[in-house]
Each structure stands twice: as structure tokens, then as C-alpha cells.
């Protein structure tokens, strides 16, 4: 019998797990994919929102502000890249100015610090590549950027280090109320637990509706993105938003913590909860919309495109906590933007409620700090020399575009909750994320995975499941 089972190893599931590991309890995260951070958490803008968008008084508003305030300390504890680069919401016509004023007012009501409206001249100095049409902007100095994979993986590793169990390739199929709590039927057998955290992203309504009579409904809202090479990363310094519309915050242009430039997302409601395909229209929209706020975007530097799904709940707010008719079933549902920003606050909010419901004692051995994968390029020449002398693998660069060494990839495989797939390695080390998109390094990374994990080449995957990479040996298909 578990005290807590968390469904979903996205950023919220992992944040709850990590905060719960401050308490003594038998906690388990069930994830249907082969790794953490495989759903919405892997395909989003990576923005730490300042908190001026959400309706005052909503859970979104509260969690956003608190998450933003906690992000710096958390990312320091967990050794995750985070940068407070500031956000700009720009208006391209004078008539939209009232929209900026409204946002400013809303932001102040939400408690966001430092907001102010900048005029054309000051903006030009700050961001020379803003479109000529930009008339004014709301500046939020507390806006930032974070690595969404980095944050999710770090939370998971830290939770694991503090005793939380993770089970991958385990899909929850059915939830039933029992006398002591809940009974979960999964693809890997039955689990009994006193409480459940429903952090299942775009599937969270299905699980909620199994446990509660008050039905909720989630719409997957697709967002398409384009990622540009690092040579384009300094095109803007702040995250540049257009004025928000009906479907969210619109297309943004932002540097990433790794120095790339990100354009997107679109916002289209779809039916398919797995519909992460990009579309011709979507990519064209990204290009057209981003050009409205930022000029001279170097589209030739696009290295990849992707789509993510936001879990939009009909009530338009985060659903956090127990439905009235399902005691011990804690929703963490409807987590769309600003979900990544809010995750640290959501983790604390839910963990405290669960711990008090279960009467869990403090875990006195809780270790809040986690060390990320060593990045040799953060070291000076002498330190790096010393590192390679001790560990020669750090001197062999496998991913030439991002400069990732064999040592880093081995670390990604060997650490707790280590990578088992090409995408797992990519999200942990950036190997394969650069301009050649794994053309050169993937055979080498495959070789390392085979060697380290003792698997056969045919068992290697891009991202688990049926995403096999190698069909067999040469000439196996030749008939005698």
C-alpha cells in the first residue's frame, strides 16, 4: 500500500513528488512513457511568466506569482539553468495601448513587481530588433526563461534521491475507490494507495472522471514552435509577447537558456490527445506572427520544429486539490500556461495538503540539493584539463554542434533515473539538439547506450515504445 501515487512524471508530477519527499511516506510516480518529461512538459515555451496575465484571484494567478518568486532559489538548489531576462508585451498599434494598461493594472493586482510601460524610444535601445510597428510595451523584469527538461528531470532526480519510487512504461487504466483509498489498474499490474495525485496532463480529465462524479473536460490545445540555431539566439534579449488574445498569450519570440531562439506557439484546439504533429499552416502562422513583433528573423536558421499540447480545462483555471466527492484524490489538472512557472508552487501547495491529510512526518534526511550533469565548458582551462586527466571521457566530444562529451552522456545514462533513449540523452545533455540534429552523434550515442545498458541495438529507441531505431544487422533481410 502506497501513501501517495502520482500519475504522470511531467513537471507538476515531479514537483509534487519532490515536495512530498520532504515527508516520510511511500510515494510512487507512475509514468506511461519511458522517461520523465515526455508530454506537455517537454514541448512548451520554457518561459517563467511574471504573472500579469491571469485573472486576479484565480489559482493560475496565485501559483504563477509564487512559482515565479520561488524559481531562482529552486533552480539554484537543483542546478538548473534559469535566467531572468525580462518579458515584453508589445502593442503594434496605438489603439492597443489600452490593452497594455489593462495588463499593467491586472499585473499590479496580482502582485507582480516592477511592471512598467516603455515607449518606442526606450524599447529601441533595449531591443533593436523589435518590429518598426511596435508602439509601446509592458515590461516585466521578473519574467524569465528556464530549461523545461532540465527543471523536470532535476525535480525527479531529487525526488528519487529522497526516496520516491518511479515506474516507467506503466499506464494507469482504471481507478477505483476502496475502503482505504484507491486501487489503480495499470499496464504493469495493480497498485493500492491511500491517495492519488492526478498530474496526467491532457489525460487528467479521464482520471478525474473515474474518481469523481463532478465531471471535468480537457481540450488538448496544440501549439507549434520553431527553434532556431544558436547563431540566432541573441536576436532578442527579452521574451517578446504580442498582446494576449482569446487563445492565450499568442506567438512569442524568446531566447532560450541554451542560447537558441524560440518562435511560437500557435493555439489550435484539437481532439487527439497525442496530436503533436506540426502542420504546414501552423508553421506558416508561427513565421507570420513572430514577424509582427520582431523584424529580420533569420528563418534560414531554423533547426527544428515541434508541437506541444496544453491541457485546457473548460473552467479556464488550474484544478488543484480534492473534488468534494473524492477524498484523497488530488487533482493537478488543467495545467496549461503558466504551468511550468507554477510547478514549484503547485508542488508545495499539493504536498502540504496531502501530507496533512495523511499525517506524514517530516523526512529529516531530506536533501534539497541536486547536482546536474557536469558541463565541462563551465570550467576554466585548468579545471577542465584536470577533469579530463581523471576522466578521459570528458575529452572526447561526441556531439560536435553542442560540444557534448562522452563523459556527459555517460553521466546521463548512469545517474538515477538515467537516460535509456536518444531523446532521454538529448533532454539531459543537449547531445543531438544542435544544428545537425543528431546526424553525427546519434550512431555514437547508440553505441554508448548498447555498451552501458547491455541492450541489443534492436532494443534501442528514440523515445521508448515502438520508436525503435535499428531493425537488425546488415543482410538479415537477404533471402538465401
Amino acid at each position: 500500500m502506497y501513501d501517495v501515487i502520482i500519475i504522470g512524471a511531467g513537471v507538476c508530477g515531479c514537483a509534487v513528488a519532490r515536495e512530498l519527499s520532504r515527508f516520510q511516506g511511500k510515494i510512487c510516480v507512475l509514468e506511461r512513457q519511458e522517461d520523465v518529461c515526455c508530454g506537455t512538459s517537454k514541448a512548451n515555451s520554457g518561459i517563467v511568466h511574471a504573472g500579469f496575465d491571469a485573472v486576479p484571484g484565480s489559482m493560475k494567478a496565485k501559483m504563477n506569482l509564487e512559482g515565479n518568486l520561488r524559481m531562482k532559489e529552486l533552480t539554484e538548489e537543483l542546478d538548473v539553468l534559469f535566467e531572468q531576462n525580462g518579458s515584453l508585451v508589445v502593442c503594434t498599434e496605438e489603439e492597443q495601448r489600452q490593452g497594455l494598461e489593462d495588463l499593467l493594472e491586472r499585473g499590479r493586482e496580482n502582485g507582480v513587481q516592477g511592471l512598467r510601460i516603455l515607449e518606442r524610444e526606450e524599447l529601441r535601445k533595449m531591443e533593436p530588433n523589435l518590429s518598426e510597428r511596435v508602439a509601446a510595451a509592458l515590461y516585466a523584469p521578473t519574467g524569465g526563461i528556464v530549461c523545461p527538461f532540465g527543471l523536470t528531470i532535476a525535480l525527479a532526480e531529487n525526488a528519487c534521491r529522497n526516496g520516491v519510487e518511479f515506474r516507467f512504461n506503466t499506464e494507469v487504466q482504471k481507478i477505483e475507490k476502496t475502503g482505504q483509498g484507491y486501487r489503480l489498474e495499470t499496464s504493469k499490474g495493480v497498485f493500492e494507495t491511500r491517495t492519488v495525485v492526478n498530474a496526467a496532463g491532457v489525460y487528467a480529465d479521464l482520471f478525474h472522471n473515474m474518481a469523481s462524479g463532478t465531471k471535468i473536460h480537457i481540450t488538448p490545445r496544440k501549439g507549434e514552435y520553431q527553434l532556431l540555431d544558436r547563431t540566432a539566439g541573441k536576436h532578442v534579449h527579452c521574451t517578446v509577447f504580442a498582446l494576449p488574445g482569446k487563445y492565450g498569450k499568442g506567438v512569442l519570440v524568446s531566447p532560450t537558456v541554451h542560447g537558441n531562439l524560440l518562435l511560437g506557439p500557435t493555439a489550435v484546439d484539437i481532439e487527439d490527445r497525442e496530436g503533436t504533429d506540426t502542420t504546414r499552416e501552423g508553421l506558416e502562422t508561427v513565421a507570420a506572427k513572430s514577424a509582427e513583433t520582431v523584424k529580420d528573423l533569420p528563418y534560414r536558421q531554423v533547426i527544428t520544429s515541434f508541437a506541444g499540447l496544453r491541457a485546457h480545462e473548460d473552467g479556464d483555471d488550474f484544478l488543484l486539490g480534492e473534488p468534494e466527492d473524492a477524498e484523497g484524490f488530488f487533482d493537478c489538472a488543467g495545467i496549461e500556461s503558466p504551468g511550468l512557472t507554477s510547478a514549484p508552487a503547485i508542488g508545495i501547495y499539493l504536498a502540504e495538503r496531502i501530507a496533512s491529510r495523511l499525517g506524514l512526518d517530516k523526512n529529516l534526511e531530506f536533501e534539497p540539493r541536486r547536482k546536474g550533469i557536469l558541463n565541462p565548458s563551465d570550467l576554466d582551462l585548468e579545471q577542465r584539463k584536470e577533469l579530463i586527466r581523471k576522466e578521459p571521457a570528458y575529452g572526447r566530444i561526441l556531439c560536435r554542434c553542442e560540444g557534448i562529451s562522452e563523459g556527459e552522456i555517460l553521466d546521463a545514462i548512469r545517474r538515477p533515473l538515467g537516460a535509456r533513449s536518444l531523446d532521454g540523452i538529448k533532454r539531459r545533455t543537449r547531445a543531438g539538439m544542435g544544428r545537425c540534429q543528431a546526424g553525427f552523434c546519434s550512431p555514437k550515442v547508440m553505441e554508448l547506450l548498447v555498451r552501458e545498458c547491455g541492450t541489443d541495438w534492436t532494443e534501442l529507441t528514440k523515445s521508448g515504445g515502438d520508436s525503435w531505431l535499428i531493425s537488425g544487422r546488415n543482410k538479415e533481410g537477404i533471402q538465401r
Binding site: 508553421l283 566530444i397 545537425c436 546519434s442 520508436s467 525503435w468 546488415n474
Partner: protein, 453 residues
């Protein structure tokens, strides 16, 4: 800091030929830095034959062609480091490199030869919409998996792009037991050699669909199929021409990009036409003492031409070292000295050029691509450094039948040759003689163009 006369970045065909040629000039202090575990570069995975017809008058496989140069490098005792990645190159020619055995180290080079080669355009650069399943590989990645690792990336294959690597991989996959269903080419013509179309596709009954592209990717985890469609003159898909192919593998052979990240770090001016450095007749870039050759300079279709070009770059680098070691340093002129408007020139180059009083330096000619010509290499000529002849390599913009290539300095024609066909996929050359050029002087430019007759 260690010091070397010539540091060569890259131990593929270009780097090897440059090293040998520099050594033959008497230069002893050379170091080749190679990122892979062995010398030879991409030739090691190009196991098909057809290399060396120009250089050795025989048909070799890639490894055999490489071995001829590697053995020579070994015999001449030219130092090299494998498993060594160059991380940075400064405009002062400080090379920062790393290897498991040497650690991280810096070298002050007197001259540097850029020979880093190129990379393949990945799917992301095509903006191919759809899911991102496993099973989409660039042709070169598949080539490495099959030819080096002995592992098949899939069983049923569609290939997008009919460049030579795509064609070669169609045959390789077939011979290793896969079924290659079709090769689709966006352009109305193939970028590959006729010989490869016949021997890699027709021999095995693999259809080639010109003016076609992939418009949809199917399969969420592993590829299950692709949709091809015909494209119009602007490359836009034509509605209702879609055709679905089931396959588990899509190989991309959609272009090569010179790898010039290090060149940019060093402030080397790049050409927007080739994506490689702008070079002069000596293969010297806009930075004094930095030379370039091979696919990092412009993408070649025949390795024989890489070797020839690299040998010239190596010889010129050795001459540079000799001249700058003596009292007459700085007498050489670097690329771009006469140019007023290098489109992508870096700060260092611009600064240098700004200091130069216009036209004070005489005897510098720009080599310009005229009608029908996409680019030329070199694009600058310093008369003082020109030999008896100068070979200008170029590519045409489109297919020309029964036309002439001409080279003019001012009104004077220096070269004219008629050919039955010019295609963009095959690199062309024109040779001008010093004697003829002298007669055309004074002139500012040399123009090379295609004249339809």
C-alpha cells in the same frame, strides 16, 4: 602555449592532401587535428567505388582512396592527433582543442588550414510538417550505421533527395537487405551523377520521382509511411497529386552545409553563395594566414577535386609560413583587401578594409559570377601571387545545353569552352593564363558566365 607552423583542422581528404603538399614544400612543423578515431574523414564510411578516377586513373572505394593519403602522411612522418576536437579558433590563430589523452590545450599557429568538411541538412531545416517519429535519418547517418556499425536503420525505405549520397544509399540499403521503394527529388532534375542514377537506382528497379517531395510524415513512434506529392515550379505541392507510401524509414539527402562555426569564431568572412569562406587564388581567407579547402570551402561532388584544391592550399600555406617567418612579413595580401562590400564580412575584416585607402593596392581583381553562374572559387585574385595559370571552379545556376563558358577581364575574353551540357550538380572549371590576363590589364574584375548559343 604550444606553437606550430601549420595547424590543419580536419584529417579528411582535404586536410590530408593539404598536409602532404605543405610537407612536400619542406614544411616540417605541421599538425593535423582530427575529431574522429582515425584519419580519412567521411571517406571511411563511403565504401562504394568510383573515387580517384582523376587522381589515380583508377576506381577506388572511399577507404582505399583515403588510405593512399594516410599512408603517405605516415610515411612522411607528418604529426597528427585523432579523437581531437577543435573547440575554438581565434583571429590570432590560437587553436583550442580537446582530446581524451591530451586534455584541453591551445596552440599558437602561424598558419591554419580549415578542412572541417560539411554537414547534412537535417529534417528540421526543411520544415517538413508532421510527427517526429523514429526512422527519419539523414543519408549520411544511415551510411555510417550500415557501413561502419553494420546495423540497418530500417526495412522499407523512401529516400528524399537525389543527391549522390541519397542515390548511393539506395543501393547500399538494397544490397544489405532493405526494400527501397522510391527516391523523390524536389527539383525537375537530379543533383546526382548519371552513373549513380543508373547503377544505384535503375539496376535495382528503384523509381526516381522528379519534382516530388514529402508532404506528410505518418507514424507517431516509428515512421509508418510518407505522402509524396508533385510540386510546381516554385516547389509548392500540387493539390490532388498526393500518393502514400508505407515505409519505416525516410532517408534525407537534401543538401550539405559547410561547417564554418570555427571560421566564424576567427572572424573569417563567409560567402552567402557557398556558405564557405571567401578565398583568393591562394585559398587564403579574409584573415591573414587562415586558408580553407575542401567541403568547408564549397561542397564538392568529386573527392579528386578536393584533393587537388587542398594540395594548392597546403602549398600556399607553406609559402605563407616561409614568407612571414622572414623579414618580408606582411607583404602578402589577404583575401578581400580590395573589396568594398563583403556581404558577410566580420568585424576584423571590415576594420582592416576600412583602413585601406581605396584602390591604393593595385593588382587585385574580383572574380565575379556572371550570367548563369552561382559562385566562383576563388573570388579574389592578387595578381602578384598568381602563377602561370589560375583554375576557377564554379557552379551553374541551372541546366544549360550546348552552351559556352567564358571568362572575361574587361572586354577581353580569356577563356571560352563549349560543352554539350552544364548542370548545377557538377562542379565546372575554367582556366585562365597569366599571359592572357596581362594583355587585358588594367582591369578590376574577372567575370565568368555561361553564354547560350
Amino acid at each position: 602555449m604550444k606553437q606550430h607552423a601549420i595547424v590543419i583542422i580536419g584529417g579528411g581528404p582535404a586536410g590530408l592532401a593539404a598536409a602532404i603538399s605543405a610537407a612536400e614544400q619542406g614544411e616540417k612543423d605541421i599538425l593535423i587535428l582530427e575529431r574522429d578515431r582515425e584519419l580519412g574523414g567521411i571517406l571511411n564510411q563511403c565504401i562504394h567505388n568510383g573515387f580517384g578516377l582523376h587522381t589515380f586513373q583508377e576506381e577506388l572505394t572511399g577507404p582505399e582512396y583515403a588510405a593512399r593519403y594516410i599512408e603517405k602522411v605516415e610515411r612522411m612522418g607528418i604529426p597528427y592527433l585523432t579523437d581531437t576536437m577543435v573547440l575554438d579558433l581565434s583571429s590570432e590563430k590560437v587553436v583550442t582543442a580537446v582530446s581524451p589523452t591530451e586534455g584541453i590545450f591551445q596552440i599558437q599557429a602561424q598558419a591554419v588550414i580549415l578542412a572541417m568538411g560539411c554537414r547534412e541538412r537535417p529534417r528540421g531545416a526543411l520544415n517538413l510538417p508532421g510527427y517526429r517519429p523514429a526512422g527519419i535519418y539523414t543519408a549520411g547517418t544511415a551510411q555510417r550505421l550500415v557501413n561502419v556499425e553494420g546495423r540497418m536503420p530500417g526495412r522499407e525505405v523512401v529516400i528524399l533527395g537525389s543527391g549522390d549520397i541519397g542515390l548511393i544509399m539506395a543501393r547500399r540499403m538494397t544490397l544489405e537487405g532493405a526494400k527501397v521503394k522510391v527516391v523523390a527529388e524536389l527539383m525537375p532534375y537530379s543533383g546526382g551523377l548519371k552513373r549513380n542514377i543508373v547503377q544505384c537506382l535503375e539496376d535495382f528497379g528503384i523509381p526516381l520521382k522528379l519534382s516530388h517531395t514529402v508532404v506528410a510524415i505518418h507514424g507517431k513512434e516509428r515512421l509508418t509511411g510518407v505522402t509524396l506529392a508533385q510540386v510546381d515550379h516554385d516547389g509548392r505541392p500540387v493539390p490532388r497529386t498526393e500518393e502514400e507510401y508505407s515505409c519505416d524509414t525516410l532517408l534525407l539527402s537534401v543538401g550539405l552545409i559547410p561547417e564554418n562555426e570555427l571560421s566564424k569564431n576567427a572572424g573569417v568572412a563567409l560567402s552567402s553563395a557557398t556558405s564557405g569562406p571567401v578565398v583568393d587564388e591562394s585559398f587564403q581567407t579574409s584573415v591573414n594566414g587562415i586558408f580553407a579547402c575542401g567541403n568547408v570551402l564549397h561542397v564538392h561532388d568529386l573527392v579528386d577535386f578536393v584533393s587537388e584544391e587542398a594540395a594548392n592550399a597546403g602549398r600556399r600555406a607553406a609559402e605563407y609560413v616561409r614568407e612571414t617567418s622572414g623579414e618580408s612579413s606582411e607583404k602578402r595580401m589577404k583575401c578581400g583587401e580590395s573589396r568594398k562590400d563583403l556581404p558577410e564580412s566580420q568585424a576584423a575584416c571590415e576594420e582592416w578594409t576600412a583602413k585601406m585607402p581605396e584602390k591604393e593596392v593595385s593588382g587585385i581583381l574580383d572574380i565575379l559570377p556572371g550570367d548563369g553562374v552561382r559562385y566562383t572559387v576563388p573570388s579574389v585574385l592578387h595578381l602578384a601571387q598568381m602563377g602561370e595559370t589560375l583554375k576557377i571552379r564554379f557552379r551553374v545556376r541551372k541546366e544549360y545545353k550546348n552552351s559556352c563558358v567564358t571568362v572575361h577581364a574587361g572586354d577581353r575574353q580569356l577563356f571560352r569552352r563549349r560543352k554539350q551540357i552544364f548542370v548545377p550538380g557538377e562542379m565546372e572549371e575554367a582556366v585562365i593564363r597569366r599571359e592572357d590576363l596581362n594583355a587585358a590589364l588594367p582591369a578590376d574584375t574577372i567575370t565568368i558566365r555561361i553564354e547560350e548559343v
